[in-house]
Symmetry: C2
Subunit: 287 residues, 2 copies
């Protein structure tokens, strides 16, 4: 059996898995995400604890070059121009595959999750920010410089709210978990959803507005690349039972020329918090 190891470097924790030929997780290790200067050491320790494996892959948030250099990362401001792939490969004495964490999650959902069988797929993760990854014409897309899928900073309201990135009106200002909280006047997304479930009219209105923003960005994505499937994941989608029907309803009217085309199918992500690590483990097959 070929065992493949993958590690997802998250904002608060690093999650390592070993998967078998069927993509099933056979071992798992978690450690708090350290500062950049301790990153390679921590990753090497996780690999040690994961044990036997034939290949090792790494998913990292932020702009990662095709050579595995972290160009900049929102969660690791000191990791600018940090060659994490090369350093970890040296520390381990084995090759390391590396890509953006959202690209890894898209790969995992495509190969082992909600997107199985798709040829043109987007995965969008609605978390604190918004991440994305895509498959086009049956191939995982990295982009020319490794940065494909940065949908969170698609501008959807040119004169809208300031974004820390320097632009105004980025999609993640409105459609991320943080955006939901902001639309609700500061209470958490969890709380809005809980209130809406109890029938609170004001909370339901906020959710409707939120789902309209989500659908608007998904329609932009669909207009540009015409996927058969859009997989929606991330923390917010733990409430997919409530949110996805609302998003779907709006999406169906916001797509260009909706009555003259086959619509992409919106699906809830299946692999949860392990998607990034599982995708990292699969990178060696889709470089």
């Amino acid at each position: 059996m070929n065992l493949a190891a993958g590690i997802d470097v998250g904002g608060t924790k690093c999650l390592g898995v070993v998967i078998d030929d069927q993509g099933l997780v056979v071992r798992e290790v978690r450690k708090p995400t350290p500062t950049a200067d301790q990153l390679v050491e921590t990753l090497a320790a996780i690999v040690g604890e994961l044990g036997e494996h034939a290949t090792i892959g790494l998913g990292v948030p932020g702009l990662i070059s095709r050579e595995g250099v972290i160009r900049s990362s929102p969660n690791m401001s000191t990791a600018i121009e940090f060659p994490v792939r090369e350093k970890l490969a040296q520390a381990l004495g084995e090759p390391v595959w590396c890509d953006n964490d959202a690209t890894c999650a898209a790969l995992a959902e495509w190969q082992r999750g909600a997107g199985v069988g798709s040829r043109d797929m987007w995965m969008v993760t609605l978390g604190t920010g918004i991440g994305g990854g895509l498959v086009s014409g049956g191939a995982l897309q990295h982009g020319a410089h490794g940065h494909a899928g940065e949908v969170g900073h698609m501008v959807v309201q040119a004169d809208g709210d300031d974004c820390p990135c320097g632009q105004r009106g980025c999609w993640e200002r409105y459609a991320s978990g943080a955006g939901l909280s902001q639309l609700a006047g500061g209470i958490t997304g969890e709380e809005v959803i809980s209130r809406a479930r109890s029938g609170d009219v004001a909370a339901l209105e906020v959710l409707n507005e939120y789902c309209t923003w989500v659908a608007l960005g998904l329609a932009n994505i669909a207009n540009m690349s015409d996927p058969d499937t859009i997989v929606v994941g991330g923390g917010v989608m733990e409430n997919a039972d409530m949110l996805l029907p609302l998003i779907d309803q709006r999406f169906a009217t916001m797509l260009y020329a909706p009555s003259h085309r086959v619509h992409p199918v919106l699906k809830s992500a299946q692999l949860g918090e392990r998607a990034g690590a599982i995708g990292a483990a699969l990178l060696h097959l889709h470089d």
Copy 2:
């Protein structure tokens, strides 16, 4: 020598070409675009006048299915659910390749124009509306249902101007030739540019605003798919010498994390009005 014929069905004219192995146009035929009920007859007549050819391809505006059915077309409102590929193939007694006109133009610029050598390319045409086509990972992308590249209806100002498509704030409201005219209070885009060339300060301000809208959409595209090259064409770009530097300047600041990445190169389209027909002739190689 393998001669390939291609026809671009435009809003006012149908342009047919025959190209040689090098992509050079060896023959050309033009006819006014007829109503939908006369379309196949007109196309067959063009093919007849084009003479010897080994293959024939067709570029059509609007939503075209992978099977060559016009689902809806802005320039041919009576051509809904019209199987143009099949009808023309029957009339000619030979197979016909068919795709969206902007996808054809992208293919032509990629293979024979400004995008030669690119692996991840967008072509965007700024005309009366905005069209688009893309190459990802070294392959022309059609999308799951043939509709990839519809960038004109990407919403960039959610509460913006009404668009005939039914949405608000679509990119082509601001960044098409019609958008330029609207920003200028109704005078034509040609006139704005002519005045700006003479140093008219108000016209220059309008052009600056226009180029900011163009750059905003190009940055959205670049954030989503990370191309190495974006080819910009269409009628507006006949003034690329004046506009492209302004667009480029703004684009360089609007891209996500611009100081931490290699930027896509913006290039002016090379094939002009023949791009669609040349791309149609190349479709048989990139189906």
